[in-house]
């Protein structure tokens, strides 16, 4: 019986950031072999029911159900090799619920079963959805209507304490929550051996303007960008923009157009560090190279 190098990778991100869609598209690209990819599926390993189920929805452009706590697949394993046939590796990528990561910020704790998964991961695929980035908005940044007179303003000031809402962790900007997540995974290398993070901005087709993913992150989440730059020695990173659906599948016309692709892998678009292609395996390959 052949023994392979075993590598655990962690997929992280808050709810609705595209983790399962990525997994579905990745599985399709690997299993179908429709297009050349940096990683190839060497052998099917273990139960594939879950992967086939989500892939079925992805290729028929049907919405994928959110992965919730209790319904996760923590032991998805793929036996992969580099395109040149070298280094066959068994990769374990759990599909964990976004709520588990949200709990880390909100309640400062998470279930040990998730922690056990994180404690063996060497690489991290971190997902951000461009429409799910909660910004920080200061009162000063909001324009006050010009017709508001001084008396009105004073009155509002005196009553503000009565009407104001107290702080809740979920009020915090997304980038703060993400930095805390990365800090947690890099706090003690003896506990969490993660060395690389591939930051994936999902639904990249929604991003308007001529920006690369790294520029987008620097503009929309400057704190996260600074954190990544400052901690590069501890946590190497690359930033990708991924469109795994290539459009809004809730639009029936668009969904039909996408279903028309004979090679569904060609729907995938990945741009970023050292790649601009349909090869969805590039971030995973880079993580495996560490």
């Amino acid at each position: 019986m052949t023994e392979y190098l075993l590598r655990h990778q962690l997929m992280a991100g808050f709810p609705g950031t595209g983790k399962t869609t990525f997994l579905a598209a990745l599985w399709h690209a690997l299993e179908s072999g429709e297009i050349a990819t940096g990683l190839r599926l060497k052998q099917v390993d273990g139960d594939r029911q879950y992967l086939n189920q989500i892939r079925g929805k992805w290729e028929s452009c049907s919405p994928l159900e959110r992965t919730t706590q209790g319904t996760e697949e923590l032991q998805i394993s793929l036996l992969l090799e580099f395109a040149d046939g070298s280094a066959a590796t068994k990769v374990v990528i759990p599909d964990m619920a976004g709520e588990s990561y949200l709990n880390l910020w909100e309640h400062r704790c998470w279930d040990k079963k998730y922690d056990d998964v994180a404690r063996v991961a060497k690489g991290l695929l971190l997902f951000v959805h461009p429409n799910e980035v909660k910004p920080r908005v200061r009162i000063r940044d909001v324009t006050i209507p010009p017709d508001e007179d001084e008396d009105g303003a004073d009155e509002a000031k005196t009553t503000s304490s009565e009407t104001s809402e107290s702080w809740h962790p979920l009020h915090s900007p997304t980038e703060v929550q993400l930095v805390e997540l990365l800090q947690f995974f890099t706090y003690d290398p003896n506990c969490y051996p993660i060395e690389r993070v591939a930051l994936i901005v999902s639904a990249w087709d929604l991003v308007v303007g001529d920006v690369c993913p790294a520029e987008w992150v620097a503009r929309r989440m400057p704190l996260l960008d600074q954190f990544l730059q400052s901690n590069r020695e501890r946590l190497d990173y690359r930033i990708y923009g991924l469109s795994a659906q290539k459009g809004d599948i809730s639009d029936p016309e668009k969904a039909n157009e996408l279903r028309g692709y004979l090679k569904q892998s060609e729907r995938i678009m990945l741009i970023g560090d050292s790649c601009n292609s349909n090869d969805i395996t590039a971030p995973l390959k880079w993580l495996m190279e560490s």
């Binding site: 709520e99 009162i139 930095v179 400052s230």
Partner: protein, 358 residues
Amino acid sequence: MSEEKRSCQQSGCQVQATGKCLDGFSLSPDVECPHYKVQLVAETEEELSTDELLPEDGVDSDEEIPTPILVHIPYGDDLSAKSCRRIMSRSLTRVIVLAGDPNSGKTTLLTAIYEKFLDGAFAGYLFAGSETFPGFEERCHPARVASYSSHPDTVRTTREKYLHVKVRRKGAAVNGVRDILFSDIPGEDFERARNAEDFCRQMSVIKRADHLLLFLDGERLASLTDRNKTITNGRTLLRSFLDAEMLGSWSIVDVLFTKYDKMQAKLRPEEIEKIIAHSIESISTQCTGRLQKIRFHSIAARPDSSSSLNDGYGLEELFPSWVEDSAQFVRLESCSKQRQTTGREFDLFLERELPNYC
């Protein structure tokens, strides 16, 4: 008597309160959602025994949902003086003490620095982390739209706490990261310190401070009623710390005229200049030769929206000094000058490689 009640076991689901399932399932009697389960709820405390919380008939005890074992993030709360040691023991940490009367702008300055990093790199430094994110976020909240307040505000500090931030100078080499601890001490403690030498001595953090920031409230300086009292309070606080030997020839003190925007709104520029000059003279006279350094600056951490000053006015010039200069490091340097070399190979090596190290 226990009653049967359905509730959702999924974290974050508000179905009980809002009637909306997080996963979009219907909530008919034959519920589809796998997390929406029957629970027995005891009506009185006496009923709340383990047995009664177990499912009744027809449910195998093997199907019980096990209590999850939780793993906690080992940091996040505001730091106490004791818990600061965790950070100080692992790196050469800058300790910045913010001192001044209640409502003089100490906490607002903390939030302003944090908010500046949320805008991007600040004063030539990149944000590299914080072990007290929730503390910063909570303090910033009253000035954010999410608070539903109509005007920016700051939460009053009631207990001595410390906030942590880690920064890295742009372009710095490996290990160029610096930990900084900012104190958030209630103004009332400084009022007490002004009047009681014993209490001054208990504030041991003052002695460890790399920088002591003395806050003089610009809004009160602009007021005829409060002006003299504000200057006197600042001066006597400094004197108390000096007399108690909590400050000394190693200390670096920055006197900050805060809320500069409010001074500008109430006074003419020449009046401001006169008041500041008087304050500087009043404070410097008694500190001459007793401190390593004393500097005076005007700042507006969170200027009023009607002001032309930018957020964090004056902080960009000060921040690099707080990161780079250290009262404690200077003490080590002065110590090394008196060092006698024993002639041992190790001492010679130390002298060669680390000339400034004692």
